[in-house]
């Protein structure tokens, strides 16, 4: 059986940064990055805006405290303040450090890293590289990981995290090339598998591969899923599939129009109109659709984003990327036609419960988590623009350091639990792939997406959430009979997808359990039946665990500096 000091699962921004962080801490460690795809295919590459970090140049008014406060306020006070203080300090270091490694940031005339102002921030502190910061940051991290000698085991799909006597002892993966199911021993494991917004399959901006594999594996190993109900919705995704139409479209003066031809934002934010904050705009669009002033039906319902009045020239000059997206997904030229849009699930604030932000530890010794799959919580109930790339860099590095400093005192555990899990998965492959005549995976996946959008989308109520929970429980039962349709072990992507959809079912159910119980509105969690934030009863993290059944528990938020106030902008 292969053995390593550290196994890192995932090769997006956080996973790559964790690998380099661990090697910087101790170059003698034997580290392996296992990853479902070729590195650099992850959600990190899709981030456009930038990476937050206060850089203390002379004459600048911004401070670490200001970034910290904006993040706390943005989180609607569900963020842990001690962890956020630590995060903003490290975020600032991360920008300088990646600059030093080769990340080509856009520059001011005097050679400094250029930064822009993003929503919810008091100061311009979002450092960027044109409109492709995530892509640039991901690739410079990959390049640096190669330079540092990081080894990759690609096409390895995480199946389970193994635990012996309460301590993490490795992972079981499936080599998608060969179909081989392989246990891997490790003294420490870092999960960096990304978010879980793919549960809203047909209405999310994230890549196909972001199915929350690490969160589900951690749950099965006994770690809690923290704040699973906190999913951020971006107001403008294309109606067909949910890929982002970025904020630039509204920034440049685009109109949002309902089926009566009205610019409906006048009813929701008369002063700022289309330039209102993300959450207000998203709720406005969804209200128009619910009240029958949209176009289409079901998940395909939408309103229109009209840019025609800007004129061909300005669209070609300023918004070529957005025009391209409209062409690809809606088959129209927005110079001549308005584009159908609707909010789209964009970011997972919740994730694997991390109990030590400095080393990104989970409750299981030897198991660490980083990036979007982890939840400290830094983003609480709502993440600010530019904080996601900073999160990937900071929590990735800290998890790497955490794992590297854990390893010297940890021995390799026995391999019995790993062998047992591997054998269970081999049986599962045979059983699942030999099924005949049940529902198909895409069919149930689409039902799940529609159920979640209806029940746990932008507006939530007790009744709808409960109905969605019941439906998901039924669909899960149905899923036990779903067919894969391919028995070949070689590169069986149908079986991979079967596992991914099983994963999002589990995570969706956790999110519903927490969302039903959170009888308040906070950040991204908007309850129509409880419209106010309720600090007295819900200034606490939801913690869902699975042990036969789904259990919900809570933990208080760490508040050391800023007492909760109303979140107004």
């Amino acid at each position: 059986m292969k053995s390593y000091d550290i196994v890192i699962v995932g090769s997006g921004g956080a996973g790559l940064r964790a690998a380099v962080g661990a090697l910087q801490e101790n170059p003698d460690l034997d580290i392996m990055v296992v990853t479902k795809t070729m590195p650099t295919r992850s959600a990190t590459c899709m981030a456009e805006g930038g990476i937050n970090g206060v850089l203390d140049f002379p004459g600048q008014e911004d401070t670490l405290e200001a970034h910290s406060f904006d993040t706390v306020k943005g989180s609607d006070y569900l963020g842990d303040q001690e962890a956020i203080d630590f995060f903003v300090e490290k975020a600032s270091e991360a920008v300088r450090e990646t600059d030093f490694w080769g990340t080509p940031y856009s520059r001011c005339d005097d050679g400094r890293v250029a930064c822009r102002l993003m929503g919810g921030h008091k100061h311009a502190r979002t450092n960027y590289s044109a409109d492709k910061t995530g892509h640039i940051l991901l690739h410079s991290n990959f390049d640096y990981a190669l330079k540092s000698g990081v080894q990759f085991r690609i096409n390895s799909h995480l199946l389970d995290v193994a635990v012996e006597d309460g301590v993490c002892c490795g992972v079981v993966v499936r080599d998608t090339n060969t179909g081989e199911i392989t246990p891997i021993r490790a003294k420490a494991v870092v999960l960096a598998t990304g978010g879980y917004t793919r549960m809203f399959w047909a209405r999310t901006s994230t890549p196909y591969i972001a199915t929350g594999d690490g969160v589900a594996a951690a749950l099965r190993a006994g770690v809690a899923f923290k704040d699973p109900e906190m999913v951020q919705f971006h107001p403008t995704g294309v109606a067909n599939g949910g890929v982002l139409i970025t904020e630039a479209a509204r920034g440049e003066g685009g109109y949002l129009v309902n089926n009566k031809g009205q610019r409906f934002m006048a009813d929701y934010a008369p002063d700022r109109m289309e330039l209102a904050p993300r959450d207000i705009t998203a709720r406005a669009i969804e209200t128009e659709i619910i009240e029958g002033r949209g176009y289409g039906e079901g998940l395909g319902a939408h309103v229109l984003l009209d840019l025609r009045h800007l004129g061909r020239e300005r669209i070609l000059e300023r918004l070529p990327q957005i025009r391209h997206v409209a062409q690809l997904f809606e088959n129209l030229d927005l110079v001549e036609q308005p584009v159908p849009i609707r909010p789209t699930a964009h970011y997972s604030m919740g994730g694997i419960d991390v109990i030590d932000h400095e080393h990104m530890k989970t409750a299981i010794p030897g198991l660490f988590a980083a990036g979007e799959c982890s939840c400290v919580s830094i983003h609480g109930a709502n993440r600010l623009g530019g904080n996601s790339l900073a999160d990937a860099m900071v929590t990735g590095k800290q998890a790497g350091i955490g794992a590297a400093s854990y390893v010297p005192d940890a021995g390799l555990k026995g391999d019995a639990p790993l062998k047992k899990l591997a054998s269970k998965w081999r049986d599962h492959f045979r059983e699942a792939t030999s099924r005949k005549g049940g529902p198909t995976v895409p069919e149930l996946r689409e039902k799940l997406a529609a159920t979640l959008w209806e029940g746990m989308g932008i507006f939530r109520t007790e009744e709808k959430l409960q109905a969605a929970l019941n439906s998901v429980i039924d669909l899960q039962k149905e899923y036990e009979t779903a067919v894969v349709g391919n028995e070949n072990p070689i590169c069986n992507t149908a079986y991979s997808h079967f596992l991914e959809v099983d994963t999002i079912f589990t995570l969706a159910r956790c999110a519903l359990v927490a969302a039903v119980a959170r009888k308040e509105s906070r950040g991204a969690h908007t309850r129509k039946d409880f419209t106010q934030r309720d600090d007295e009863n819900f200034l606490k993290h939801s913690l869902v665990t699975i042990n036969g059944d789904y259990h919900l528990d809570y933990r208080p938020v760490s508040i050391n500096r800023y007492q909760p106030q109303e979140r107004k902008y």
Binding site: T37, M38, T40, R41, S42, A43, C45, M46, L55, E93, V95, R96, E97, D99, F100, W101, G102, P104, S106, R107, D109, D110, G111, R112, V113, S129, A130, K132, H135, I136, H139, S140, F142, D143, Y144, L146, K147, F152, I154, N155, N177, P207, Y208, I209, G241, V243, Q327, L328, N331, L332, T440, V484, G485, N486, N488, I490, C491, N492, T493, A494
Partner: protein, 321 residues
């Protein structure tokens, strides 16, 4: 419009075959949307990779009628118009080991990418603690090379790789080396050049397939030229590659024209050219492509300059700096 017809090159680990899929035409479908339609409605055993859907992750490059494209970024209606037919042949990227159907192996390519010594070694005045300084112009100078999404399209139709991949690298690897060699923050640009010099830098055939295939508009061929320039200036002037480049330049400087009869001995040396190229030359004589007299004239006496030779020399001189 007629139905879509895809002929897909399949491989299940043992057997290879070409499979025909026919499904109703819908306007505005990308190649990726069609592949997903086939997998989810017709044949779940079809394998391909895809992730972001918006041309930035590089996962979904495939070949359509023998030419690499990003499946998510290519409209089938456009392809049908381009090729003038309703049937499209979809196959995995070229110059890559196929795992199954349209899925190719990346392990070796990652291994080979390490040769570019990616990652910046910043100049001494910079630190991890303080970061770097760089002018907007200097950042712009490398920004195109940073658009690379590692999709593998540039390597797919690379004629040099198809001929022999043991002494040449995927074009994107030279682009990766170039972006660090050209970066004004770099302490020692040559650390990204010399390993490329030893890894086929002079073997590029200039077929420009990489340039036409890159979905991001990068020119790996230009990056090869850039690295050659840096290598040559650093004193790598020996070997057939540098001598070939020098012979080109000499011809241009002398007459403004390429003289291929003189190019060969200048590149390979008189003895080697005379012995190794003799059979080839004799074949040309026998087929009537060249007469001995004409060859001798070209070699000894053809020194006529092209019009505006002085202007050309000025361009070359400016370029030398």
């Amino acid at each position: 419009m007629q139905n879509f017809i895809f002929l897909i090159d399949r491989f299940d680990g043992t057997n290879s075959w070409r499979q025909r899929y026919e499904f109703p035409h819908k306007p505005g479908m990308t190649v990726l949307a069609c592949l997903i339609h086939i997998k989810e409605n017709i044949d779940p055993t079809l394998n391909f990779t895809a992730s972001c859907r918006s041309a930035i992750c590089g996962a979904c490059a495939v070949r359509v009628n023998g030419n690499a494209v990003l499946a998510c970024d290519t409209m089938v209606d456009d392809l049908r118009e381009q090729w003038g037919e309703d049937t499209l042949t979809i196959s995995p990227l070229g110059n890559a080991k196929v795992i199954s159907d349209l899925v190719v192996k990346w392990d070796e390519k990652i291994h080979r990418l390490r040769k570019a010594n990616t990652g910046l070694h910043a100049r001494d005045e910079f630190s991890a603690h303080e970061g770097c300084r760089q002018s907007p112009e200097d950042m712009q100078a490398v920004s195109k090379q940073w658009d690379c999404i590692l999709c593998g399209s540039c390597a797919s139709e690379c004629n040099k790789l198809s001929d022999d991949s043991t002494d040449f690298l995927e074009p994107f690897i030279y682009t990766h080396a170039a972006r660090y060699a050209k970066d004004s923050r770099s302490k020692n640009p040559m650390e990204h050049v010399m390993d490329m010099e030893r890894s086929g830098l002079w073997k590029c055939l200039h077929c420009m397939e990489c340039v036409t295939k890159c979905p991001k508009g990068i020119s790996p061929a230009d990056d090869v030229a850039l690295l050659r320039d840096l290598a040559y200036r650093a004193g790598c002037t020996e070997g057939p590659g540098p001598r070939h480049a020098k012979a080109f330049r000499t011809d241009l400087e002398n007459t403004g024209r390429l003289n291929e009869v003189r190019l060969v001995p200048r590149t390979e040396g008189m003895t080697s050219a005379a012995t190794k190229r003799l059979p080839f030359t004799l074949r040309m004589f026998s087929r009537g492509k060249l007469t001995p007299l004409e060859a001798a004239r070209l070699f000894v006496a053809d020194n006529k300059r092209v019009q505006d030779h002085d202007g050309l020399c000025r361009i070359l001189e400016a370029n030398r700096k």
